[in-house]
């Protein structure tokens, strides 16, 4: 049976991750280096490793899945195009997150400029939860999906500079140092932004968290 290309790639990945005894998986930096030398499979492995985490980062940042998919596609295209620009002095993850973050910020700025809101086109981040009846009580109504939407809505209510660091730190669990490199601001500023963002979210989500 002939394997599809993706299955083929998965096999390669798996063969290069032999066991728990020793992680012989090629590092991201090894992969991009191989890709720079013309190994197209290395690029496929990079896509496989990063597509999910990048999609979730961008999705939480821009709040719309379709746009997030486009941005992540564009991120990989940029990696493909600009592969020679990567130098091993930086971590590959920092580089690719920087690209995705920049594209997301550009999209948010573009969206702000457009200001063409149509109710039907609104993503969940734009929908207000004003369609409520008299008896609506958030403490009673919240369940899994709605809770997720409320959290996402509150994340989106943060300004982009706070939103980005909160997602990178508390959702993606990157280190402060890495975040500092990705958004190119000092670690102290990152920490201050994260804490201010958290404080705001704590206030907005207090009723939700007490329920939990």
């Amino acid at each position: 049976m002939k394997l599809s290309m993706v299955e083929d790639i998965e096999n390669i990945e798996n063969t290069q991750r032999p066991s728990k005894r020793g992680d012989k998986r090629p590092s991201d930096e090894d992969l991009i280096e191989r890709f720079q030398k013309g190994d197209a499979y290395a690029f496929d492995l990079i896509v496989k490793r990063y597509k999910e985490q990048l999609l979730n980062f961008v999705y939480r940042f821009v709040g719309n899945q379709e746009e997030a998919e486009d941005i992540v596609q564009e991120t990989f295209l940029r990696v493909y195009r600009k592969r020679k620009a990567y130098k091993r002095i930086a971590k590959f993850s920092t580089w690719i997150y920087t690209i995705a973050g920049n594209l997301s910020r550009t999209e948010l700025r573009r969206r702000k400029r457009r200001k063409l809101f149509s109710v039907t086109d609104m993503g969940f981040e734009d929908r207000d939860y004003e369609i409520s009846d008299e008896g609506y009580n958030p403490e009673n109504q919240v369940d899994g999906i709605i809770q997720e939407e409320i959290i996402q809505k509150e994340i989106n209510s943060l300004s982009p500079k706070f939103r980005e660091v909160i997602i990178l730190r508390d959702v993606q669990e990157l280190s402060y140092e890495e975040i500092s490199k990705i958004i190119d601001v000092p670690i102290g500023t990152v920490k201050s932004r994260v804490n201010r963002g958290r404080l705001k979210l704590q206030g907005q989500l207090k009723y939700l968290m007490k329920k939990k």
Binding site: D170, V171, N195, R198, L205
Partner: protein
């Protein structure tokens, strides 16, 4: 920064695991003793749990296929021509410069033609911001005498003069306007 503000920052660092052991013990003591600090700590932890617990959205199954198609398209476009690929900007700039140079050369050549002493207008390029010219023969070159009357001559002269003024052109420009 007030003590309470400082303690809040310390609690964040405590939750992030960024404090050295001694400071860590001190914050833990504060959380234990101070109900306000305890409530704040609970909020911080609850928020972290909520954010960590956000579901990961699934990558669409056609993601790789779409990406491969886009890469293939880009590669084929970059192979297609002179204006594609990394050299497209210098190439476009060179061609643009050559085009400008060619226009300037043509203009200079035709410009020298119009300066000839011949009373008959020659072909050339009319450069004017006025609306497109209607080609006609200037009144003073019309052969009205052959069949026209004095009245017709006067009318014709007035008509042309008023049309020229409407188009904002001088009679010299009019003379330069000829049909190719």
């Amino acid at each position: 920064m007030s003590d309470w503000e400082q303690l809040k920052d310390d609690i964040y660092d405590y939750v992030d695991g960024l404090l050295p052991s001694e400071a860590r013990r001190e914050v833990a003591r504060q959380i234990e003793r101070n109900p306000e600090a305890r409530a704040f700590y609970d909020d911080v932890v609850a928020l972290r749990v909520s954010l960590k617990g956000l579901k990961y959205i699934q990558v669409p199954s056609d993601f790789d296929t779409v990406l491969r198609t886009r890469i293939r398209m880009e590669r084929s476009m970059s192979r297609q021509g002179f204006f594609a690929g990394p050299l497209r900007l210098p190439a476009a700039a060179t061609v643009g410069a050559l085009a400008v140079a060619a226009v300037v050369m043509v203009f200079n050549l035709t410009g020298s033609n119009t300066q000839s002493n011949s009373p008959i207008p020659r072909g050339g390029v009319h450069v004017s911001s006025a609306p497109p010219a209607i080609n006609y023969v200037p009144v003073d070159r019309m052969d009205i005498d052959a069949g026209g009357t004095k009245l017709e001559r006067r009318t014709s002269a007035r008509d042309y003069a008023s049309r020229d003024s409407l188009r904002g052109r001088t009679s010299d420009e009019r003379i330069l306007t000829v049909e190719f």
